[in-house]
């Protein structure tokens, strides 16, 4: 009839041809790439392909992966053991640590394997979900013990040994080494990720240090600033913790503050803190209903325990040897049957 009708027809025809082709190519769709070809960082999850599995009555276990290597390797150790030894399907959900609490409370996430008590969110989460409405169970310690400190690169201490302890920062001429345009006369103390407890302003004031806090706003910002300063051997004083993959890359020294004491952190002492941060005993939590839904997985996760050395070894494997977290976890599992066999429920 008309040109338009004709073209419309041919257009439609070619689309149909493509669609048919697409369908034809989809024949092996369910066998979607189990391990993606992506190399480098951990392979992207394709949980999409999972539900077709026969594990009918076994629920899918969803583990939270936070964006640091330590969290990743824990999760992949647990994932591989849960899948191979207990026959579960495990999905890894990459999520910001601050968004995970409501999710684990509701069951969108089954368990979180590495929580740092110093996170402000986590204190709240514990109070609200674990102690409060009991939608989340405390699964005990992970075994790894962390610690927040003030750090300087080693070359700073080499040059100015006084800066290894807090007294050194009382001296204006030494503190000024750290000064920037933002801080003027005082030295800059780079405070990190705002999600962490930070008493630095209190500590600085109560110890009378010539420092001024600049809030970096994110962990990445601190790391980038460190990388830059380190490359030029410039002084930098910042808030960080261990274990952290950054210690594999740079030689950092914690600044010695007055020792931690319970009195120093007592409620009555609010606003007057003048001592070091406490140790961070990392812990695990799970959704409360996991206990009934998957008792053996629950038991396994509660039993799971890594040492500092275990985690640091795996982190190094990823950071220095270029393995993916999954590969590093696999290597560790192969070597440490004695350790993980104890985690399996009897």
């Amino acid at each position: 009839m008309s040109h338009k009708r004709l073209t419309a027809c041919t257009h439609a025809l070619s689309w149909v041809a493509v669609a048919v082709l697409a369908l034809a190519a989809c024949r092996q769709a369910p066998a979607a790439p189990a391990e993606s070809p992506a190399a480098g960082s951990p392979a992207a999850e394709t949980p999409a392909a999972a539900p077709a599995q026969p594990a009918a009555e076994k629920p899918i276990i969803k583990l939270a992966e936070n964006p640091w290597t330590g969290s990743s390797v824990n999760v992949y150790v647990a994932k591989q053991l849960l899948e191979d030894k207990l026959g579960y399907t495990v999905e890894v959900v990459t999520i910001d640590e601050n968004a995970q609490w409501p999710a684990v409370a509701k069951g969108d996430i089954s368990a979180i394997l590495e929580i740092w008590p110093s996170g402000e969110t986590h204190q709240k989460g514990l109070k609200q979900y674990v102690e409060g409405d009991k939608t989340v169970d405390h699964l005990g310690e992970l075994g790894v013990v962390g610690k927040i400190s003030w750090y300087v690169p080693k070359y700073v201490v080499d040059q100015y040994p006084e800066l290894a302890t807090w007294e050194g920062y009382k001296k204006p001429e030494l503190a000024r080494l750290f000064a920037t345009a933002e801080t003027g006369e005082d030295g800059q103390f780079l405070a990190g990720d705002p999600s962490w407890v930070q008493y630095d302003e209190e500590i600085i004031q109560n110890l009378g240090l010539k420092l001024k806090v600049v809030r970096a706003g994110s962990e990445q910002a601190v790391l980038a600033a460190l990388d830059s300063a380190y490359s030029r051997k410039e002084p930098l004083l910042f808030y960080l913790w261990t274990p952290h993959s950054v210690h594999n890359k740079y030689e950092l020294v914690p600044v010695k503050l007055p020792d931690y004491s319970d009195e120093c952190y007592a409620e009555a002492n609010a606003g007057k803190k003048a001592c070091d941060y406490p140790k961070d005993v990392l812990f695990k939590v799970a959704n409360a209903r996991l206990k009934e839904a998957a008792p053996d997985a629950y038991q396994f996760l509660a039993n799971m325990k890594l040492t500092d050395a275990d985690q640091i070894a795996m982190i190094a494997d990823v950071e220095l040897n270029g393995k993916t977290p999954a590969e590093a976890a696999k290597a560790w599992i192969e070597k440490h049957e004695a350790v993980w066999s104890k985690w399996l429920p009897k």
């Binding site: 073209t7 070809p37 960082s41 951990p42 999520i95 968004a99």
Partner: protein, 641 residues
């Protein structure tokens, strides 16, 4: 001319003369200052007890939500099924994209490109997707694409009907407009946690957050398109007794289609803008790559993922742009001038089939195109070699631009003076309505308990905008004069506009130190493409008759620019300034993540400490600042006409 003794002129309304108005405003300012001298207790700082109490209310609400999350019927019967549905839908699309052979996806894109634009578009699109595969990001690209498709679909399903309603009802339009403004300016960070509360983690909250962010352009452009349909066509339809619905369906919608398609295009671009943020709640895909790589300072890896996002953006942009360019009134002639239109698709389909037979489903790993290493090298090189320029530059900006300006706004001028001053600006560019609105807005900043943070942010935003304008105008003028410059600029601007800002945060911090400056640099990079584009467009759209006339009188090129093009392009340039401010405001939170303090940091705190109340308050303050600055610059732009 027509005699029109009855067309009565509008009588000039009695208005006080300009000097008188200036005097009264000055008097008001002086009064405010005097007041602050007399009652320093009230005016030194915004009184803490004048507080709206929003923070507590929000926190109370989110406590209620978290403790009723599992039992309340509204969740059990509404949000949960909704989440399940969305999740299933995204997974469906994801499975389809991942299940299909990679060559088929590329083939389909190629055919779509060919049908919509021709062989160049076809080749460009397929090469783009191929690049994503070659960077080892095929799976992630498909995941992001799936998420994107679903989000855009929802955004359009909601946005287009709203846009129609806005076009048909002025009242609805007036109600919806500020809400859309707020949706667009409110940082996604702020509503990420609430969205998680309601919709759980992973794909669903990502879709919801993306939809919230991407709806406004769909609504705006649909409404604009319908309102701008030639009135003659509508009148004719009316004269033939069409019902309102018939007019809409048979006349307005078809004629508004190009504008609606432009809305689709914008929606896609917006949706791609929060891919990385969506990754923070488990959305996966390319955003996750950027997010993980950044945490490990792998700039190269982040760059690759960012580049893949840019590729998707450009491919979808060009495809949807081509779609919106298809002019319904010209279809037959277009098609008539073409070779039989099934040859090329068949060729592409044939090639695709060959690839399907020859290669396995997964994108061949050996076709690796490693960009990470060179990029990492480049970053290291700039870190080691450019610092001697960037450090002094950074210090200069901090000491001589940011500090004095911040001190003035935040510390020197008492808050009543600031309120009056902003209101005065509003009064002079528009009138007492804007003045009142601005004053209320400024007051709200204090009332929300964020006065000093707001002033800090305001000073940064103004300095950043000034820098952006200074850089964008000359480049825009240059681009308007030379097609070569324009062609060279286009991919760069496209890249800057679509690459997730997160990707260049690390290098920027390395070069400029933590503090307010890296945020400023990132914001300038983000806002400058729009500035350049709109300036260029404004100048290029100056009426050719005027230019011709000027040429006929023997103007030199410089005279032509200065005496004709720039003055005539002034309204467009003023609008571009407005857009630049909005873009800079959109970056406030990002700035907060690299040491920018102010409202951005508060918003980050809101997210990272689950302090929803603080987050929402900070977000609202950003929205308020945005509205004040937007209305003032819009009014100022309108005065340039």
């Amino acid at each position: 001319m027509a005699t029109r003794s009855f067309a009565l002129p509008i009588l000039p309304r009695a208005r006080s003369s300009r000097p008188w108005r200036i005097a009264s405003v000055l008097a008001l300012l002086a009064g405010a200052w005097l007041l602050s001298l007399l009652v320093p207790s009230l005016t030194d700082q915004f009184p803490a007890h004048w507080n709206l109490g929003l923070r507590e209310a929000v926190d109370g609400f989110s406590r209620w939500v978290t403790s009723n999350r599992i039992t309340s019927p509204i969740f059990v019967y509404f949000f949960d099924p909704l989440s399940t549905g969305i999740d299933a839908f995204v997974r469906l699309i994801e499975n389809a994209l991942l299940g299909a052979h990679w060559a088929v996806i590329i083939g389909i894109t190629a055919i779509a490109g060919w049908l919509l634009g021709g062989w160049r578009l076809s080749l460009g699109c397929s090469l783009g997707f191929f690049l994503c595969g070659a960077m080892g990001l095929w799976t992630q690209t498909m995941q992001t694409l799936a998420l994107m498709n679903v989000s855009v679909l929802f955004a359009l399903l909601i946005g287009i009907p709203l846009g129609i309603a806005c076009a048909l009802s002025n009242r609805f339009d007036r109600v919806l407009r500020p809400i859309l403004d707020a949706m667009q300016v409110m940082p996604a960070f702020v509503y990420l946690i609430p969205v998680v509360l309601f919709f759980g983690v992973a794909r669903v909250p990502a879709v919801v957050a993306t939809v919230i962010y991407a709806i406004p352009p769909a609504v705006r452009l649909t409404s604009l398109g319908i309102r701008e349909v030639q009135p003659a066509a509508v009148e004719a339809a009316r004269a033939f007794g069409s019902t309102r619905w018939q007019i809409l369906r048979k006349v307005q919608l078809p004629l508004a289609l190009p504008a609606i398609m432009a809305g689709v295009n914008q929606t896609i671009m917006m949706a791609l803008g929060i891919v990385v943020i969506a990754a923070m709640v488990g959305a996966g895909g390319l955003g996750r790559e950027v997010y993980l790589a950044l945490q490990r300072l792998q700039v190269g890896r982040a760059f690759e993922a960012g580049l893949a996002i840019v590729v998707i953006a450009i491919v979808l942009d060009r495809l949807s742009e081509a779609l919106s360019r298809i002019d319904l009134t010209q279809l037959p002639s277009r098609a008539a001038g073409r070779a039989p239109s099934w040859v090329a698709p068949l060729v592409i389909a044939g090639l695709t089939a060959l690839c399907v037979i020859a290669f396995q489903d997964a994108f061949p790993g050996e076709w690796q195109l490693g960009l990470a290493r060179p990029v990492d090298g480049l970053v290291r090189w700039t870190r080691d070699n450019l610092f001697f320029i960037t450090r002094p530059l950074s210090d200069f900006i901090t000491l001589y631009l940011l500090n004095p300006f911040r001190d003035l706004l935040r510390d020197i001028a008492p808050w009543p003076v600031m309120v009056v001053a902003v209101a005065a600006v509003g009064y002079f560019v528009s009138g007492w309505r804007l003045a009142l609105g601005s004053a209320i807005g400024m007051f709200m900043l204090g009332w929300l308990g964020m006065w000093s943070q707001s002033m800090d942010t305001l000073s940064q935003v103004l300095v950043t905008t000034a820098i952006t304008v200074v850089l964008a105008l000359p480049v825009g003028i240059l681009a308007s004069q030379s097609d070569v410059v324009r062609r060279v600029l286009r991919p760069i601007l496209d890249f800057l506009q679509t690459v997730p800002t997160f990707v260049f945060l690390v290098p920027v911090i390395m070069l400029f130190n933590v503090g307010r400056v890296p945020g400023i640099i990132a914001s300038v990079l983000y806002a400058i493409p729009v500035g350049i584009r709109l300036t260029e467009l404004g100048i290029r759209q100056v009426s050719p008759e005027a230019v011709e006339a000027a040429k006929a009188f023997g103007s030199t090129r410089a005279q032509l620019i200065v005496k004709v093009q720039l003055p005539l392009a002034k309204p467009a340039i003023a609008l571009s300034v407005n857009q630049m401010i909005m873009m800079v405001l959109a970056m406030v939170v990002i700035a907060g993540m690299v040491g920018g303090a102010g409202l951005g940091l508060e918003a980050v705190i809101g997210l990272t400490r689950s302090e929803t109340g603080i987050g929402i308050s900070a977000g609202l303050c950003i929205v308020i600042l945005a509205m004040i600055l937007d209305r003032i610059t819009q009014a100022w732009a309108a005065r340039q006409r």
